[in-house]
Amino acid sequence: MIVIVDYNAGNLTSVKRALDYLSIPCAISPDPHKVLNAEKIIFPGVGHAGFAMKVLRERALDAALKEAFNKGTPILGICLGTQVILSSSEETDLPCLDLIAGTCPKFALSDPALKIPHMGWNSIIMQRPHPVLCGIADGDEFYFVHSFYPQPREKTDVFALCDYGITFPAVIGRGNLVATQFHPEKSGQAGLRLLSAFASWDGASC
């Protein structure tokens, strides 16, 4: 059973709908015990990083996520979930989860024709193979909506990039944790392939 972490951060039901469609058992839960004991975890979210960190702390989900990560539970971060797993974010003064060393800057683009948020379909540039990306080809397109982007400190934590005026990490990960800045649940067949691959991933990296 996959537990989808509920921390009042956006439309979690769209992730559940995609998993239901794929016949992958899942449940949405705000309960840290359920998160800690989950077979796998999806950590989605849209919204504000500061608000997200506040709710994660109030519900003791921050500690549960860290412990689950440390004991090897496969975790998939999505969008805001991908940003708050880093050490910090420019969006908030609150420290983030620090599962992967790095920060989350806001887009600062020199071309005025490039709008913020970065919203729409964009292709990803593969950097390193990952079991969760096994059904994805270089250049496949995914749906993005964001103004901040993840920037891990270590290059080895970056699995795919995306180009939007600058080149930024679109898929990051370390060990049993993998995270996408885009929304696989809104990215058509390519997104569904990624979710399926996550459901059958044992958490071992390549």
Binding site: G10, N11, T13, S14, R17, A18, D20, Y21, V46, G47, P112, K115, I116, P117, H118, M119, G120, W121, N122, S123, E141, Y143, V145, D163, Y164, E185, K186, S187, G188, Q189, G191, L192
Partner: protein
């Protein structure tokens, strides 16, 4: 780089597709869910469902349609028509729609844009504007006026001023629908689309007049639109989504191929 988006619009009345849609290959031509599913599989990038249900006691049917669509298509889609309160919009969003389309209700009560934007985030708020070409005047210096109720009601609002105001109030995206071009299939209103795209810093979806792939190319380049909305040329089976995208790609635009 972002791909240019191809968006299609489906009119839904009492849970069924309105007669303006005559898609040939659907199993049930009246079923919005199966048509949406066909377009999704063919590579549409986004969908808009417009609820043209006349009576308010039939409106709950739309929630069922939204929920059914969200269970079988996995691309962003928005819902408009008849949404007048934050509660209406939240219900549609919880049923699985990515975005809310506001039009007449936003003109009648501008604070609705801000309130929905605060509740759901500006990325979820699409301001749809119906625009009529008028003689330039002190009130409408751009020569374009906002109209509502499908073009029947003049508002006196200048289109460029309203686009800017919509952005300031919290809209995350604009649909610019030219009443003059709508239904002509002779091409989008390039000048209007470009004026608005240059006046705001949020994405613009061009609507009205798309009759051939060349028209989409023109509005996505010269018109500076981020996306183009097509309806009848798809519904009547004149072009497939693949044909349109292959044309745009051959002309050098980045589009998502499936």
């Amino acid at each position: 780089m972002l791909s240019k988006r191809i968006v299609s619009c489906l009119d839904v009345r009492d849970g069924r597709l309105a007669k303006s849609v005559r898609f040939v290959d659907t199993r049930d031509i009246g079923d919005p869910v199966s048509t949406a599913r066909n377009y999704y599989e063919a590579g549409i990038d986004e969908l808009v469902f417009y609820d043209i249900t006349a009576s308010s006691d039939q409106r709950d049917i739309m929630i069922d349609v939204v929920s059914a669509v969200a269970s079988c298509i996995f691309i962003p889609f928005s819902v408009g028509g008849g949404l007048r309160t934050v509660e209406d919009c939240t219900r549609v969003r919880l049923a699985g729609a990515e975005k809310i389309n506001l039009n007449t209700a936003a003109v009648a009560d501008q604070s609705l844009i801000t309130r929905v934007s605060r509740a759901l985030g500006s990325q979820a708020v699409v301001l749809s504007m119906d625009v009529l070409a008028v003689p330039a005047s002190p009130q409408t210096p751009s020569g374009y006026e906002i109209v509502t109720h499908g073009g029947r009601t003049r508002t006196g609002l200048d289109a460029i001023a309203w686009a800017r105001r919509g952005e300031a109030l919290g809209a995350g995206e604009l649909v610019v629908n030219s009443i003059d071009a709508d239904g002509t299939r002779e091409g989008y209103e390039i000048r209007l689309t470009r004026m608005i795209a240059e006046a705001v810093s949020i994405p613009v979806i061009a609507s009205g007049g798309g009759g051939a792939p060349q028209h989409l190319y023109d509005v996505l380049t010269e018109g500076r639109a981020d996306a183009a909305l097509i309806a009848s040329i798809l519904h009547f089976g004149e072009y497939t989504i693949r044909e349109i995208k292959e044309y745009l790609r051959a002309e050098g635009l980045k589009v998502r191929m499936v």
